[in-house]
């Protein structure tokens, strides 16, 4: 700024150019900071030297073995199996929670009934409790339902990830609120039932929010590791990716597995990143829809 005022002859123009370059330099520095950790993990995933301690930013030699190890060395940490587990759990979670969230938000947005306001208030209050406070209790409930052992563990995880999702209806409700009610009324005058207005009018108009809901619920099992850890405990057969990656950084594994951890992190991030970038537009629309409502 002071530089600009020292050149009063060409005044505003120089000032503008200086401000602009400063802005761009700052943006570049910030962008660098934001991308750096991601860039570093990609580099690490191709690093040939083992272990977590390195003295150079760039690897001394590059290799593909870290990725190979993830898929071939399955004796201690079976990454392909974890990937498969998580994928299956994510698909079921995604289907159930999408249905739950859309159903609840449609009802809250479009239908009027006695329990509507109380339900919305209860949902708000429940949101204030630490989500994980009930985890111990959830575990005992699953145990009482005989779902805490063996092959029921994946089912239990799906249930845990999807059962309570109906509470998170606010974003989708906000979006539904922005769809003109006149459309529903017109359909009802034409003799459509409520069910038909929901499936034939509202749903086709709500692609952004449906994509957003599918995406967020699909991501939940990949991101969560707390519930998965409590429910799987030591049963390595049912580990999800996040527990596996967490394990790789534990003291006994870190020396051998650090670079493979980076490779695993890259592999998990790629599909999610692609999905996210493809649907970013919908994401923003979905979220800002909530603000309007």
């Amino acid at each position: 700024m002071s530089k600009a005022s020292s050149a009063p002859v060409t005044g505003a123009k120089i000032r503008k150019i200086v401000t602009n370059s400063i802005v761009h330099v700052i943006l570049a520095i910030l962008a660098f900071i934001w991308v750096l950790p991601i860039f570093w993990v990609v580099l690490t995933s191709f690093r040939a030297e083992k272990g977590s301690y390195v003295t150079t930013f760039f690897p001394q030699s590059y290799t593909f073995n870290n990725y190979k190890k993830l898929f071939t060395d399955t004796t201690i940490l079976n990454f392909p199996l974890m990937f498969k587990n998580t994928f299956v759990i994510a698909i079921f979670t995604c289907i159930i929670s999408t249905i739950f969230v859309l159903s609840v938000s449609y009802c809250m947005s479009r239908m009027r009934f006695k329990m509507r306001k109380p339900f919305m208030n209860v949902a708000m209050i429940l949101g204030l409790f630490p989500g994980f406070m009930s985890m111990v209790a959830v575990y005992y409930i699953l145990k009482a339902l005989n779902m805490s052992e063996g092959s029921m563990i994946p089912v239990a995880l799906v249930v845990v990830f999807s059962a309570g999702t109906g509470i998170g209806f606010q974003v989708a409700k906000g979006f539904f609120d922005t769809i003109p009610k006149a459309l529903d009324e017109a359909a009802i005058i034409d003799g459509a039932t409520r069910w038909q207005t929901f499936t034939k009018v509202t749903v086709p108009l709500s692609k952004p929010i449906i994509v957003y809901t599918i995406l967020t619920s699909f991501m939940a099992p990949w991101i969560d590791f707390l519930f998965a850890k409590v429910i799987c405990r030591a049963d390595a057969k049912y580990f999800t990716v996040s527990i596996g990656l967490w394990k790789m950084l534990e003291k006994e594994y870190i020396d051998n597995w650090y670079t493979s951890f980076a490779a695993g992190a890259v592999l998990v991030s790629i599909p999610i990143a692609i999905l996210f970038l493809l649907t970013q537009k919908f994401y923003v629309e979905g979220v800002s829809g909530a603000v309007k409502g």
Binding site: L30, I38, S103, F129, P130, S134, A137, V230, V291
Partner: protein, 458 residues
């Protein structure tokens, strides 16, 4: 909206209240209070009647099988200890299972839930019987079972759509929550070996946590203080920096808007726990950041990112900025473009500079639109388990302390329950977290423009 709001009392008027059924109902209706569904069957609503009857039979069967036992054990939570008994025939010691207070508590609460649900069904059964009676007396058409089912897809669609989600919430959110809240009033903890058998102790745990002179109590106030500081900084700085960044990128003169946004948003696409674990490994004493700084002689000693209390606190807040700013950026960008351009033009004509327009137009508008979002963010940050647990793990921790210097109430809750097995204290901390959040949310809502003046900017 307003019309439905003011008319809602009439809209949901209860035409056939239970009270009327008791006073005015005929014998059959009154009989339905004992044998549910009779009233419906008498009026040829056989399907509906049978469903009610089946619910009643199932409930009675459940109560006889286990429900009554569950309820009777709730006040005492069990007393029989596991015993070793000498078995003469096999000549070995056999274990005779004792009571398990935890399961007794869970089953007791679950039975109460089932009973409440049954009472609701009972009410609707009585209402339905009375309705059938009234309609039949007036000679009106009674809906058949088929029509009832059909209505589930039309005016009663909400019952169909909400049944499963609400069931899920009840069993996996509310039931566990009530269970945990109940735990706060017991002595379920490792102290004095109360992990299998425990008793109700009233408010003793709350007294312990709130007592300044107790070790745990002092810790509580310091953790609470840090949790609030953390939440305010994490929310406020994220919002301010995210907004400034969005405005800078949004400027007319900024080139390559999409590219800059892509750079920042890329970090959202990486799962949070992955980026947090990476950050943690980068900032260790022997991590890449310290190693490089030492190597190039910029520092003489490794920076204590997670081993010095102040460093650790600043580090987690800064890293949280890295995590959170892209989200704010996404949020704010859309809203920025919604601010009416006339406001800015008018400000320009009046000779306002960039900073003035920011404080007089942009900021108030953002605060107005985003207050609910900010409250959610604040709540999220108070309960931000991941960032603290994965980055610092609450460290540095003093010797013998249950909580470290960067522990939030939630991570402390985790440590108390999972590591220490002080389940009762953990539950109290959970409840206190809720209280704090509820108070903050209430105060902010009441003092915001969007609460006082809903039409403000519209």
């Amino acid at each position: 909206m307003k019309k439905t709001g003011s008319g809602s009392k009439k809209e949901f008027e209860n035409l056939y209240p239970v009270k009327d059924a008791v006073i005015k109902g005929n014998v059959v209706t009154k009989l339905s209070m004992l044998v549910m569904g009779v009233g419906n069957i008498a009026h040829k609503q056989i399907g509906k009647g049978i469903v009610f009857l089946a619910v009643e039979v199932a409930y009675i069967w459940f109560m006889i099988q286990s429900g009554i036992h569950n309820l009777s054990m709730l006040p005492s939570l069990g007393w029989r200890e596991q015993e070793k008994v000498w078995n003469e025939k096999k000549s070995i010691y056999e274990y005779v299972a004792g009571d398990q207070s935890l399961l007794l508590l869970l089953y007791g609460i679950a039975t109460i839930f089932v009973t409440i649900a049954f009472i609701m069904v009972w009410k609707s059964a009585v209402k339905s019987a009375y309705k059938a009676e009234v309609l039949a007396a007036k000679g009106k058409h009674l809906p058949t079972f088929k029509e009832d089912i059909k209505s589930l897809f039309d005016q009663n669609l909400y019952k169909l759509l909400l049944a499963a989600p609400i069931g899920g919430i009840l069993v996996f959110t509310i039931l566990p929550l009530v269970f945990m809240i109940a735990m706060a009033f017991t002595n379920y903890s490792k102290v004095d070996e109360h992990l299998i058998l425990f008793d109700w102790v009233g408010f003793a745990n709350f007294a312990k946590i709130l007592n300044m002179s107790d070790g745990i109590g002092r810790r509580f106030y310091s953790v609470l203080g840090w949790t609030l500081i953390w939440a305010i900084f994490a929310t406020g700085l994220n919002f301010i920096f995210g907004m400034i960044l969005a405005i800078v990128i949004n400027r007319k003169e900024t080139k390559g808007k999409a590219f800059w946004r892509f750079c920042f948003v890329l970090s959202i696409a990486v799962p949070q726990f992955v980026s947090l674990l990476i950050m943690r490994s980068m900032l260790q004493t022997t991590g890449i950041v310290n190693t490089l700084l030492l190597k190039y002689g910029l520092i003489d000693m490794a920076l204590p990112f997670f081993s010095n209390a102040t460093w650790a606190r600043v580090t987690v807040i800064v890293i949280n900025l890295w995590v959170g700013i892209p989200y704010t950026l996404l949020q704010v960008t859309g809203i920025l473009q919604n601010i009416p351009a006339e406001l800015y033009e008018a400000a320009k004509i009046d000779g306002a500079n960039a900073i003035q327009t920011f404080f007089k137009i942009t900021l108030p508008y953002m605060l107005f639109v985003l207050t609910p979002y900010l409250i959610t963010q604040f709540t999220g940050n108070v309960n931000n388990f991941n960032v603290i647990f994965l980055l610092s793990g609450g460290n540095p921790t003093g010797v013998g302390d249950t909580a470290g210097k960067t522990d939030l109430l939630v991570t402390w809750l985790y440590k108390l329950t999972i590591d220490k097995n002080y389940y009762n204290l953990g539950a109290v901390i959970g409840i206190m977290t809720f209280v704090v959040l509820a108070v903050v949310a209430l105060i902010t809502y009441r003092n915001t423009t969007s609460y006082k003046d809903e039409e403000g900017f519209m």
